[in-house]
């Protein structure tokens, strides 16, 4: 029997949905811009079956991919589970067979050796194919029209890491993808394999190196010359896994470390820089300035995730789980391993930030992310209370002037990750801000489309789903030229 009643967090708006859906010609408030042709692809997770352990990470939720397909002003919605071997095994057994996040020692013996990945993090359109990404395994190829799962993909056998990041970066000047796997040779290995893959999907380059300590390498940034790879206080060990713990624990004594890796260099050319304890889970962008590398990201003061608790037994500290847009400057002429850091905006924000991807590796002006504004109205009597814990705004942060423009989603809404969709041939920041809002009063999800240059004017369109869409981790806009859409 499926029973979520013991999970206090699986109630109300947040109750599991667990169904697959097709909505043809979705209801729209406003007018869908005619120049949006393609798909907003979301990937996230839901529990097919409740987790085996109460303290497991939500990163173990089963993957669910969904698309808002835009064509000539009409939007169709489709949602499907990512049907991994794990999903199929659980469904056959009618229960959760897999244990804690990235810890196979906690699994039911019947699934020993099976790919335990859940494919719930980021969708990727590359080389004419659609993939789901999860950093503990290879990408899974997905049929972009049916959203049915095809299976793991290794770029014609040339991608040799056992894992593939959820945050590859595509260089807009060449179309090449810079991607990597960490714990590349298996659980708890220090190996990172860094790849350059041509826009036709052919692996062009592989660089192997080791990190100073096994840590989460969730996101990177690229410049024209370098790859910036942050690692920080999440630690792991085989002993930890054998003790039945979740993969990561937080070690506050670990310095934040950042590798500056030449894109055409060797492992010996890598510079490691060290700084105070931080958590750089997601990045915005980076660029070269002479012999300096300028890197910007929404960086947490400390551990953002209570499900990866401190290893010293202390309590997780929510006051340090705040992200601020910061700039880190790495001087490659320096003789020491220090770097400088500036907080660019004082407002704490969601670390799920985006830029205009056409400006990756280049000087740029705008960053976009969600944040909570407690000065905005929140109609608790309609929405229920989360004690002010909502992301009710998308902000456009002007890195040149320090000014912020904001879009407010509504008094019963909370916004998931923002996406920026450039207008074809438009200048930087000319386009749309897009993302899904949870409407706690109407118990439904609404895809927001706002003009990125006129955020204060509100949205130009809302695509209404008559249900709660599965929660998203990351979403990406895919232009119709990128995939063989029907």
């Amino acid at each position: 029997m499926v029973d979520f009643s013991k999970m206090d967090t699986m109630k109300g708006f947040f109750a599991p949905t667990r169904f697959e859906a097709d909505v043809y010609d979705c209801e729209v408030i406003g007018k869908v811009p005619a120049d949006l042709n393609g798909a907003f692809v979301r990937l996230g997770g839901d529990w097919l079956y409740p987790p085996k352990f109460d303290d497991d990470s939500p990163f173990s939720m089963d993957g669910y991919i969904n698309t808002f397909r835009f064509k000539n002003g009409v939007v169709n919605y489709k949602g499907r589970w990512v049907k991994t071997p794990r999903f199929k095994a659980d469904l056959a057994a009618k229960k959760q067979l897999f244990g804690k996040y990235r810890n196979p020692f906690t699994d039911d013996p019947s699934v020993h050796g099976l790919d335990r990945s859940v494919q719930n993090t980021t969708p990727l359109a590359f080389a004419g194919k659609l993939f789901t990404l999860k950093e503990d395994s290879l990408p899974y190829e997905i049929d972009c029209n049916t959203l049915e799962t095809i299976g793991p993909y290794n770029f014609h056998g040339k991608y040799r890491s056992l894992t593939f990041t959820a945050h590859p970066k595509v260089d807009p000047t060449t179309g090449e993808m810079i991607c990597y796997g960490y714990e590349a040779e298996g659980l708890e290995t220090k190996d990172v394999f860094l790849y350059t893959i041509k826009k036709n999907g052919e692996v062009a380059r592989e660089l192997r190196f080791k990190v100073p300590y096994v840590s989460m390498v969730h996101d990177i940034a690229i410049t024209q010359k370098y790859v910036i790879i942050p690692i920080f206080g999440f630690v792991s060990s085989m002993e930890r896994l054998k003790e039945g713990k979740v993969h990561w624990g937080w070690d506050d004594t670990k310095p934040a470390m950042v590798a500056i890796v030449p894109r055409d260099g060797e492992a010996k050319d890598i510079r490691w820089f060290k700084g105070p304890s931080r958590a750089t889970v997601h990045t915005l962008n980076a660029r070269d300035e002479g012999n300096k590398v300028i890197f910007e990201a929404p960086i947490y003061d400390s551990n953002p995730f209570p499900f990866f608790p401190p290893i010293d037994g202390s309590a997780w500290d929510p006051t340090k789980a705040r992200a601020y847009i910061r700039r880190q400057t790495f001087d490659l002429n320096s003789k020491d391993d220090g770097y400088t850091e500036d907080k660019i905006f004082e407002r704490n924000v969601s670390d799920l930030g985006r830029v205009d991807d056409r400006y990756l590796t280049q000087p740029y002006r705008y960053a976009f992310t969600a944040y909570g504004d407690t000065q905005r109205p929140f109609e608790q009597w309609k929405a229920g209370s989360l004690g002010g814990r909502v992301n009710n705004c998308y902000g456009r942060f002007d890195l040149a002037t320090g000014k912020m423009n904001s879009y407010f989603a509504g008094p019963t809404h909370s916004l998931q990750e923002v996406c920026f969709v450039p207008r074809k041939n438009g200048a930087e920041g000319d386009g749309y801000v897009m993302g899904v809002a949870s409407n706690y009063a109407e118990m439904r999800s609404e895809l927001i489309i706002a003009d990125a240059q006129h955020l204060e004017d509100g949205d130009v369109a809302r695509v209404i789903l008559p249900f709660r869409a599965t929660a998203q981790v990351h979403g990406r806009w895919v232009d119709e030229s990128e995939l063989p859409f029907a």
């Binding site: 708006f13 947040f14 499900f307 789980a321 989360l386």
Partner: protein, 102 residues
């Protein structure tokens, strides 16, 4: 509880009775009749002026309809589903254990 009552009221483990809109209005009307108070007054659509009947939007057989006599109980739209409420009591740690990104 008999089958008819079960249709109108759902009893949860917490002991809280969730009363349907129709059942509630019925109970209210009966209670008001016993106390000789017009139910409409309790619903807030009269002032201290003599009761004046106007057309109202009301419920009949779970369907909205316009009652031009004003005799029926006006429909008040629900305030919202309050979908965030079941998680309101969670501490920051408890909430973020499942929702690091809301």
């Amino acid at each position: 509880m008999d089958a008819n009552a079960m249709r109108e009221t759902t009893k949860f483990e917490s002991g809280v009775n969730f009363v349907t809109r129709r059942n509630f209005l019925g109970l209210l009307t009966a209670a008001c009749a016993a106390a000789s108070i017009p139910a409409a007054k309790l619903l807030g659509h009269t002032a201290d002026v003599p009761f004046e009947r106007r057309p109202v939007v009301a419920f009949h057989m779970d369907q909205l309809y316009v009652d031009r006599t004003g005799k029926a109980v006006p429909y008040r739209p629900p305030a919202g589903y309050r979908g965030a409420e079941p998680l309101a009591h969670l501490s920051e740690t408890e909430l973020r254990m499942q929702y690091c990104y809301l």
